[in-house]
């Protein structure tokens, strides 16, 4: 029998680096990986997660048929007709009884642009304003702060451009574990003589790359950034030409910074004042400097202010808008940038049209053939709150796992149990799917065609390489058919048709047509307004995206004088290299799980000594939100008074706080404090 062997070039389903690799398919089954060196971001490289792709595609626990769960908890297999009819009828009934705004829709950072676009369109045509997704939990501060400062909320330069920087400030990012391919470019810059600074309360493989590591007290990022800016001003190192010609709002910030006591700041931050001075000088005086940041900056009560401070720093020194100079908020998921671009957010429509901007909103409505579109809705965690208040009765979850990803899991569990209807569309029976009344089996990325936008704003086409197993269907097929049943449209769109509609509705995707990107290995970087436009790798080289084409400095809302203290321990949550987000995928893959098979809390040796615990001891971790049990790892990679837990395991978010940053509405995951209780044997 002839073995039909094929190689299809797909985009990696994991992080926002957007690497490409060849998937080898034999007789309709994924069997191997081929590395493709001619791709600009990774040069063919693939981190451990990407290398697990074959194991993932062939996983025996895939959901392969629709499931109905009764009130007594028993599940049974149902047909697609049954499933979709049930969901459509129930949604209609709830809309009739309680209103369309009693239904929430959680989009996915992992499905294609076409699928997210159709999903938010379904939600809004249905009448609900509550569309959101997990970007809320990670980079919503970036979207808010950077849009405000520059006009767009995205990363400004492509990843390989980092090798052209002469100074790289890494703050709150552990890219060596979470965006491993970024490491190459930072190391290239270092080889060429760039000065690398890392700011992180922990020692990580990323901080090991840096020339200096500012191991700050948790939650003092804002103080540090402002101290650096204050020092730059003091030494006359600001780029006044740039400030004058391309920005506004400097005076207000300057007044605030002039009062900054850098010595006091150094004490509060917990680093030598000399390190702050070096950082300030190196960043300001290098010909081109870059700032890389991630969750360490955003997942705070004042995450938006911290992100705004990063923008201020770049503007202060004019390090933006050219090669080697820019801001790099590293987006986490393979298509979280795309999900944001497609308007799967409570305050945005596709193309970042504000839902509360009536005029612009109605232009989109016209393109959709309807009168108007609902205004702003609730964000991910606010939806959970609204369920608990009895205001939301139904939730449609596509490719998300809020039980594990959202803070304060006990509340999420309680909320989901209260729903009249919970629909989960996913590839595995996740912790969230276990609560669902209907579970819809979805196809994986390689089993459908679509476009995905990585953290560089690079839109790439990932073609279908093999069929989904059994009755699993692409998210586009599911949403398309559901929309038909709900009477929202007549035909089931193909991915290419959907992208063409996106070209019409989202101006900066205007020239990113299926024809152009399907035949391109490296895709197109938005803004790409028309079919002849080559894309825009570096933003703001001529003008910013605000109305007057200038960027603006923003003065932070909070008073940085009084940093928060975390007693007895600051609880920092984060990631490890072999796992991915809620772990719903990676905890099922033995080739990855073997490296980090279980949850471990990292504690400093002195703290361990005082508590009488050692490597392998079991402890109870207690916060106001809950208590969990875990094993301990003793290491000086955390500060004294600080502990670390990876959030890939369901226990971790049982502990985290729900307080939201007021502007971006991101939960303050990293502002947690906990108690440790030794568990005696």
């Amino acid at each position: 029998m002839m073995v039909k062997k094929n190689k299809v070039s797909v985009i990696c389903p994991y992080c926002g680096a957007g690497c490409r690799f060849g998937l080898i398919v034999e007789n309709g089954r994924a069997t191997g990986i081929d590395y493709e060196p001619d791709h600009p971001v990774a040069l063919g490289a693939l981190c451990p997660k990407g290398n697990s792709a074959v194991e993932l595609l062939n996983h025996p626990e895939r959901l392969t048929f629709p499931i109905r769960r009764e009130h007594n908890g028993t599940t049974r297999r149902i047909t697609w007709d049954e499933a979709l009819q049930f969901v459509a009828n129930k949604l209609r009934q709830i809309r009739e009884d309680f209103g369309a705004d009693a239904v929430g829709f959680l989009a996915s950072a992992k499905v294609s642009n076409e699928e997210n676009y159709l999903f938010q369109k379904l939600a809004r045509l249905f009448g609900s304003p509550h569309v959101d997704h997990c970007a809320r939990l990670c980079h919503s501060p970036s979207i808010v702060a950077l849009s405000r400062a520059f006009g767009s909320g995205a990363m400004t330069n492509p990843i390989p451009d980092l090798e052209n920087s002469r100074c790289i400030l890494i703050i709150g990012s552990n890219f060596s574990e979470n965006h491993p391919v970024v490491s190459r470019w930072v190391l290239n810059a270092k080889d060429r003589g760039a000065f690398i600074i890392a700011v992180d309360p922990r020692k990580t493989p990323t901080t090991e790359i840096a020339h200096i590591h500012l191991m700050i007290r948790p939650g003092t990022d804002g103080i540090l950034l402002n101290a650096i800016m204050a020092q730059i001003l003091r030494e006359g190192l600001a780029n006044y030409d740039f400030i004058a010609s391309r920005t506004e709002g400097f005076e207000r910030l300057k007044n605030k910074l002039q009062q900054f006591d850098i010595i006091k700041a150094a004490e509060q931050v917990g680093v030598p004042v000399g390190d702050i001075v070096i950082t300030a000088r190196k960043y300001a005086t290098s010909p081109s400097s870059a700032i890389i940041y991630c969750m360490g900056i955003t997942q705070h009560r004042h995450g938006t202010d911290y992100a705004a401070s990063c923008a201020n720093l770049a503007l202060l020194c004019g390090h933006i808008g050219r090669s080697g100079a820019g801001i790099f908020p590293l987006r986490g998921q393979n298509n979280v940038q795309g999900a944001s671009d497609m308007g799967a957010l409570a305050e945005f429509l596709p193309g970042y049209v504000r839902t509360n901007d009536v005029k612009k909103r109605q232009l989109v409505a016209k393109l959709w053939g309807c009168e108007d579109i609902p205004s702003s809705g609730l964000s991910v965690t606010e939806i959970i709150g609204a369920i608990l208040d009895g205001k939301i009765k139904a939730l449609f979850v596509m490719g998300e796992n809020p039980i594990v990803s959202d803070p304060c899991s006990s509340e999420t569990e309680k909320a989901l149990s209260m729903l009249d209807l919970l629909v989960v569309q996913d590839i595995f029976m996740t912790e969230t799917a276990n609560f669902a009344h209907v579970v819809l089996p979805a196809a994986m990325w390689a089993e459908k065609s679509g476009s995905y936008t990585n953290t560089e704003r690079r839109v790439q086409w990932s073609p279908k390489a093999l069929n989904p197993p059994n009755e699993a269907k692409s998210d586009l097929w599911i949403i398309g058919n559901l929309g038909k049943l709900l009477g929202l449209w007549d035909t089931l769109p193909q991915p290419e048709d959907m992208l063409r509609e996106i070209n019409q509705v989202v101006p900066f995707y205007g020239g990113i047509t299926p024809e152009r990107i399907a035949k391109s290995k490296e895709g197109l970087i938005w803004p790409c307004p028309d079919e002849h436009h080559p894309g825009t790798p570096i933003l703001y080289s001529e003008k910013f995206h605000r109305e007057n084409e200038r960027a603006t400095f923003t003065v932070p809302e909070i008073d940085f004088e009084a940093p928060r203290s975390f007693e007895p321990f600051s609880l920092i949550t984060g990631r490890v290299v072999v796992h991915y987000n809620s772990g719903s995928i990676t905890r099922k893959l033995p080739s990855l799980l073997r490296y980090t098979p279980k949850l471990e809390l990292t504690i400093h040796p002195s703290d361990a000594g005082e508590l009488g615990i050692k490597d392998g001891s079991t402890v109870l971790v207690k916060t106001v939100k809950g208590t969990v049990e875990t094993v301990v790892k003793v290491s000086p990679s955390v500060r004294q008074g600080s502990v670390f837990m990876p959030f890939h395991f369901p226990e971790t978010n049982r502990l985290t706080p729900k307080d939201l940053d007021p502007m971006a509405r991101i939960p303050s995951f990293k502002d947690a404090q906990c108690q440790l209780i030794r568990k005696d044997k």
């Binding site: 060196p37 490289a45 693939l46 981190c47 990407g50 290398n51 290299v577």
Partner: protein
């Protein structure tokens, strides 16, 4: 690659981020067993110019081909002697499960490894098992565990078949593992030379530099 013999796999430990991608790529290219172990940087065969493993192998089961040191599976007895002869710990052992083949013959021992081996020396022919496994009594074990000795083969087969780079170098996200022509790799040559130095002079002792 122009000439198979002129490229080497260089490791730059300063670039290693400890992600284990190389182990996974190696394992997927070698039937589920990785020839790499990541300690503070990936460890695998350095394909030394003067290899101690070749010196100690009493079976001539390790040979040099196209600048790579290859462990010939059909000749190897899994004795483990080469494992302890490698100063880098680059020859590894993994316990595997194998089918029992009652009639399988081991190649006769070749006591002196300086005896010339002809290029056409055939691989070991396996006799048909005297009893088929289907006929065996129920309580006869059909599988057994052995400790397999294995090491990096420079992905030579991959290279000879399709010119593909070694899997580890292809996958390394940070560029810590690179496959380069010796002539072209100047700074990496410094690290490579030290590895060669370690093996040929063997004056390295923990805590002192030669």
């Amino acid at each position: 690659m122009q000439s198979m013999a002129s490229w080497k796999i260089f490791i730059n430990p300063e670039r290693c981020i400890g992600c284990h991608a190389c182990e996974m790529a190696c394992e997927q290219t070698h039937g589920g067993i990785s020839n790499i172990k990541v300690q503070c940087a990936p460890v695998f065969c350095r394909h030394c110019e003067v290899p101690p493993c070749v010196t100690v192998c009493y079976r001539n089961a390790i040979e040099m081909r196209n600048g790579k040191i290859l462990l010939i599976k059909d000749l190897c007895t899994n004795c483990g002697i080469c494992v302890f002869a490698c100063p880098f710990g680059a020859i590894m052992t993994t316990t595997i499960t194998r089918q029992i083949e009652p009639g399988k013959k081991a190649h006769s021992a070749v006591p002196c490894h300086f005896e010339a081996r002809s290029a056409e020396e055939p691989h070991t022919e396996h006799e048909k098992p005297k009893r088929s496994l289907a006929d065996a009594r129920d309580d006869t074990p059909r599988e057994r565990q052995i400790v397999l000795v294995h090491k990096c083969d420079g992905c030579l087969e991959r290279a000879e078949a399709s010119g593909a780079r070694p899997a580890c170098a292809a996958t390394c996200p940070s560029g810590a593992i690179e496959c380069k022509d010796i002539a072209q790799a100047s700074s990496l040559k410094r690290i490579r030379t030290y590895e060669v130095h370690l093996v040929t002079h063997l004056t390295h002792r923990e805590g002192t530099s030669p």
